[in-house]
């Protein structure tokens, strides 16, 4: 009986202490993350005058988003984000797999290469963007090197050219984050039992075949993590564009992304006069929220189904 009473009193203490212990974290997280996010979703169904919510407008903001003058910006930015995602999948997560595989086959020196490859990932995208902006500038060192090697003549304007600018930004982003796929793939490869590879070797499988036929199917969880992370990061892309090409995504919106467009709508840098359009910004935010949540869920399910267990 006394034992029973003691546990209930302990449980009562625990319930009270739990509330006290959780409250500070919940208050900060609720106030500065959950509340503004829910209000933003809610507000996208209203008309706005400056920063003041006016009246319920149904889906009016959303339909305005897709037509002139916003339509061209929206589709342009969306296309750039999609291209960015596939570019990163190929350049960063594809090359990263090759690097991780080479390191795995060698074993020796893996920690050194991993540390070097990962180093840019701890730098701010602002620093990385600013550094590459200096290196790629007309008169910069890349121009000098390409001229010296005879690969290019005259002034290098890859960042000012609307055909090449987006590709350069994607490459800089891949340079920034290359260490991430290398680390995640290597961790995945080390979890595969060495006997699997030895058996394949005895059967006469070459390195390329082992990567394709054995390692890749077993790396599905790693690939799933990377695809999801790259998707989220790509559709939040802002810093590199802002620092290298300005908030308009120069030249002539060729590097505009959904978040730079959102920023211009919300904080007044869109168009010649730079007036904010909060209704439009919130509608774009809600749309991006849906793209991100649905996309993430679909990807997690897709890779979950394809996970092979040995």
């Amino acid at each position: 009986m006394t034992k029973f009473r003691r546990t209930t009193s302990l449980q009562r203490t625990q319930q009270r202490m739990a509330v006290l212990f959780i409250l500070p974290a919940l208050a900060i997280y609720g106030l500065f993350v959950l509340y503004p996010l829910l209000m933003s979703l809610w507000g996208s169904f209203f008309t706005w005058k400056g920063l003041r919510m006016q009246e319920f407008a149904g889906l009016a903001n959303f339909s305005r988003l897709f037509v002139f003058p916003s339509g061209a910006r929206l589709y342009g930015a969306l296309w750039h984000n999609v291209a960015w995602f596939f570019g990163i999948m190929l350049l960063q997560n594809g090359l990263g797999l090759l690097f991780a595989w080479l390191l795995f086959l060698r074993g020796r020196g893996a920690a050194f290469f991993q540390s070097v490859f990962f180093f840019p990932a701890v730098l701010s995208p602002v620093i990385v963007g600013a550094l590459w902006r200096l290196l790629l500038a007309p008169g910069g060192i890349v121009e000098w090197a390409l001229n010296g090697l005879g690969l290019h003549q005259g002034s290098l304007t890859v960042l000012g050219n609307s055909h090449t600018a987006l590709g350069m930004l994607i490459a800089v982003d891949a340079w920034n984050w290359m260490g991430l796929p290398v680390l995640i793939y290597t961790a995945g490869l080390r979890q595969i039992s060495p006997q699997v590879f030895e058996a394949a070797k005895l059967d006469g499988a070459g390195n390329a075949r082992m990567l394709y036929a054995i390692a890749l199917p077993l790396l599905m969880p790693a690939l799933g993590t990377l695809t999801t992370l790259s998707f989220i990061n790509t559709f939040n892309q802002f810093d590199i564009v802002y620092v290298m090409q300005g908030v308009q995504g120069n030249p002539s919106y060729a590097t505009d992304t959904l978040v730079t467009y959102f920023y211009r709508l919300a904080f007044g840098a869109e168009g010649a006069v730079g007036i904010t359009d909060i209704g439009l910004a919130l509608a774009l935010g809600t749309m991006l929220f849906l793209i991100l949540s649905i996309g993430t869920l679909l990807m997690l399910r897709f890779f979950d189904k394809r996970t092979v267990e040995l």
Binding site: P24, P36, L37, M39, F99, F118, I184
Partner: protein, 279 residues
């Protein structure tokens, strides 16, 4: 033996070449960054790859004082330090009952926190701006500390809860027998047992906060409160022709992270390899 070993080694050559090419692609830009810090703009044009004529600190001094990067640097230190401490304290407090008590609502509450790991908080920046303005937290380092902690709490709770869950139950029972209160059990017994979790949270919070640019861009207008990344984004345009100064400010702004990375490279690699989300 050598008849087999030599072709074997030759076969490995292309692989080594690929790895070394990427190593150069990472290290060369950083090398150029470092040597350019010590060169005048004219010297940067004349002597592209070589070492500087003299290791003059002129660019650093000008970046620190004339461009006032020193001020931004101190702001960034305050914001990063404040956010790391606040995040660790409140997240460890929340994770302790959620992972160690039988409350009946652990799962729901933990789920509420974890859902925040993936939330695209930038999209809430309009409402966040309105909120910060009404709380008087615009142009304030405290405001930044609160926002960054709020964003990092989900990841921190997740890490702390995972580490605390596997501790033996006898741990608190013995302490409770001795009459220790719950607060003391958390801070003097449980927290020292999960030191690896504390360092993971501290490292990744520090990197994310030190590097962030978006929230200062929205919330900070007064030069006195600007953080390093925000200042850098201005310098790149403002001192466009003064390359030595810009290179030096880039070097200064990455120095703390560089030092931390050299000291903690192994923990960082393991933390990321274990699937810890970075951004």
């Amino acid at each position: 033996m050598s008849a087999v070993a030599i072709p074997h080694r030759l076969a490995r050559l292309p692989g080594w070449t690929i790895l070394l090419v990427w190593t150069a692609a990472v290290l060369l830009p950083l090398y150029i960054l470092v040597v350019s810090c010590f060169k005048t703009t004219a010297e940067i044009y004349d002597n592209r790859l070589g070492l500087p004529q003299s290791w003059a600190l002129d660019n650093f001094v000008r970046a620190w004082t004339r461009a006032d990067l020193g001020h931004n640097f101190i702001n960034s230190l305050i914001v990063t330090g404040g956010a790391v401490i606040l995040t660790i304290v409140v997240s460890a407090m929340a994770a302790y009952p959620l992972s160690r008590y039988k409350l009946g609502w652990n799962g729901i509450m933990l789920g509420l926190f974890l859902s925040g790991i993936m939330l695209p908080i930038r999209l809430a920046s309009v409402e966040l701006f309105t909120l910060m303005r009404s709380l008087g937290l615009l142009d304030s380092l405290t405001g930044l500390i609160l926002v960054y902690s709020a964003i990092r709490i989900p990841f921190a709770v997740f890490i702390f809860a995972n580490f605390m869950r596997v501790l033996p139950a006898e741990l608190e029972e013995a302490a409770r027998m001795d009459g220790a209160g719950e607060t003391r059990i958390l801070f003097q017994i449980v927290l020292p047992m999960v030191k690896p979790a504390v360092s993971i949270v501290a490292i990744f919070t520090a990197i994310a906060v030190w590097n962030d640019f978006f929230f200062p861009l929205i919330f900070i207008f007064d030069d006195r409160y600007k953080t390093v990344p925000l200042a850098i984004s201005v310098f790149v345009g403002q001192f466009r022709t003064d390359w030595g100064l810009v290179f030096a400010s880039l070097a200064i702004s990455m120095a703390p992270i560089l030092i931390m990375y050299c000291l903690l490279a192994r923990q960082i690699r393991e933390g990321v390899g274990a699937g810890g989300g970075m951004k």
